[in-house]
């Protein structure tokens, strides 16, 4: 094994790195650059890093300040959630991961899954909010990773049916409804998410009669759902467009009504086709939930910013951003790998 590696490695090098003079120069240049970068990161993260001590110890050293992370990780992940109750958001997140993991296989996407998710959400909100034996934690105390995950998951789940309706209307013969749907989709896609979030935080209270008011979190969640549904609609429209005309005609010949044709024949096929781009939209949305920071909700990014504002620990931004960046990266990377896996799986079945 080692012998064959020693034999093959030079050949591999010659073929992949040094096949032409120009490539050789580029390779050497990149290797030198990489060496420099890796050396720097190695020094910062491992050699010069501080593992125990205070902010003062960190300031003297020239490396990654782990005490800062140890001190702040609880706040970054859970925000203002009460100290004695941390097992609740933890369990809620674990339940979410479990449900997502269970839902990963397309064969399981049946009615039963809908009930599973319904059950999950009941449990999730019971754990987060309390009641029935648990102390109540109002949602202005929710924050950090559970909040980010909640905004993203609910955003995806609710924007999806809305997207299907919008896409169907956009492709229907009902001129007026079609125009309304086109206007909605293009309007939302033409403006930045911030403007929709501003709308939810400053304009939404004006829309409601006096005395009626939603809390800020719910308003932001509605804004996210409304925003993403326009993008979902476009993704699903792509799937609808790729369904063969024969499918419509066959359904019509069988005597199915428009509603049944869509429900039983067209939409299930279209959804299947667009799963990979849907996951990409979901990734985009997961990242975009960080924008709720601008309307002062304590999502994962905002708890990080708040942790950085502690006067005792000023100046450790890079540590915090690298840590939180890693969390975001892991979630998005897993999702994108999942989408690629589905894509190739569906691709195999077509053939």
């Amino acid at each position: 094994m080692i012998q064959s590696f020693i034999n093959d490695f030079p050949k591999w090098l010659k073929k992949n790195l040094f096949n032409t003079p120009v490539n050789s120069v580029i390779s050497i240049f990149i290797l030198a650059l990489l060496w420099k970068a890796i050396e720097k990161i190695f020094l910062w993260l491992l050699v010069n890093s501080v593992w125990t001590g205070t902010a003062a110890t960190c300031r003297q050293a020239d490396g990654f300040c782990f005490p800062f992370l140890f001190e702040k990780v609880r706040f970054i992940i859970y925000g203002f959630y009460p100290d004695g109750q941390l097992w609740r958001p933890t369990l809620a997140m674990l339940l979410l991961f479990g449900t997502l993991f269970y839902s990963r296989i397309p064969e399981r996407w049946t009615k039963k899954l809908v009930y599973t998710w319904f059950g999950f959400f009941t449990l999730f909100f019971w754990l987060m909010r309390g009641g029935l034996g648990l102390p109540i934690v109002t949602n202005d105390k929710w924050g950090g990773l559970p909040l980010t995950l909640m905004l993203a998951t609910i955003g995806i789940i609710f924007s999806y049916p809305l997207g299907i309706v919008l896409a169907l209307l956009r492709r229907s013969n009902l001129k007026i409804l079609k125009t309304l749907s086109v206007l909605y989709i293009e309007l939302i896609r033409g403006v930045p998410l911030i403007s929709v979030l501003f709308m939810s935080s400053v304009m939404f209270p004006l829309f409601l009669p006096e005395g009626v008011n939603f809390d800020k979190l719910l308003r932001a969640q509605i804004a996210i759902i409304l925003f993403v549904s326009a993008y979902m609609a476009e993704v699903i429209r792509g799937g609808l467009a790729s369904i063969d005309k024969g499918q419509y005609e066959a359904a019509h010949t069988l005597g199915l009504s428009y509603f049944d044709t869509m429900r039983l024949i067209i939409v299930p096929q279209a959804i299947r086709i667009v799963i990979p781009p849907t996951v990409n939209t979901a990734i985009g949305m997961f990242k975009d939930t960080s924008l709720v920071l601008i309307i002062a909700l304590f999502d994962l990014l905002n708890t990080t910013k708040t942790a950085l504002r502690d006067p005792e620990w000023l100046g450790f931004s890079l540590e915090a951003y690298v840590f939180v960046g890693l969390i975001y990266f892991v979630f998005c990377y897993v999702m994108s790998k999942y989408s690629q896996g589905l894509e190739s799986e569906f691709g195999m079945k077509e053939r």
Binding site: I194, F198, P209, S317, G325, S336
Partner: protein, 383 residues
Amino acid sequence: MFNLLRDEKKRALLIQASGLFLVLAIFGYLFHNTQLNLEKQNIATGFGFFELEAGFDIGEALVEYWSDDTYLKALWVGVLNTLKVSILGNIFAVTLGVLIGLGHLSNNWLVKKLCRSYIEIVRNIPLLLQLFFWYALLTEALPAVKQAMEILPSVYLSNRGLNIPFPVNTANYGFSLFGFIVALIIFFFMERKRDLKQIETGVAKPLWEKLNYTIFLIPILIWALTGASTEFEIPKLVGFNFNGGYTLTPEFTALFVGLVIYTAAFNAEITRAGIQSISKGQWEAAHSLGLSQRDTVKIVILPQALRVMIPPLTSQVLNLTKNSSLAVAIGYPDFVSIANTTMNQTGQAVECVFMIMIVYLTFSLLTSIFMNWFNKKFALVER
């Protein structure tokens, strides 16, 4: 009643009428509530506040602005700042994206893996976090003005921004730049005409190809005729700040770098997919016709790849423009951040959010119109 439901046309009409009624009713209700609420809070509707004195300073502006100027002027400064970062950002993001996309197709293993990692890392981290990261890097990790690093001769980097030399006679260089853009457009059309001629007659005119480049003498000529100024203003440390030259603020630099790096990753994927969508047979056919590598790419591959690339690139161009609104989080005075300040000072929430939407819709519409025109004219010529 049942007859009405059975008749397909009448049923459609009924559905539409009720749908429209529902939407109008909701809008009417919301509008009514808004009016009542505004009345109660004593907020005057309309755009009368445009003429009032803004009273806040703006860190950087492309036109002269003082805090006693009107809100309208302040918002205009915001529009220009948004345009500045979007246009510059898009030019760099597309260029960098295409380069990285091509790098991803390179036969050098290192280049390929490096480009792949770049794309994977950048695409999977929220843009807002990346902007904070760059901003922190520029303001915390860099030395104070007194210890500014001289990264190139007379180019200073400190936590107050990047100070670069700037020509004293700006008008002179402005004219030259304008001349260069005109020359670029003329060059583009002349090259296209030459290509069409070659396709029509089959005769290559290599001499013409070289002659076409002479058009780039125009900007040099303009520069020479308007005084040939070579004088540069060098940034100098005076007290606690740099004087002279041009300062790129940390806010602008962080936003610009963040947007370019983020969007370039998406543009790179588009480029890779576009070029990979061209079948290998096209390369082989072009080579067997005796076309050089350069001509193969220029005449055969690129026009076909562009067809696939332009629609998604358009949406990335728009995404960068929309994402520039995240400036509000790091303090670059773009349109959203100035509208936000205006909203907080005047309480005109409805008008300000409405204006943000209109401005971005206008940008989107103009970009779409331009890209559609470009696509029709150059990329989508079906044979």
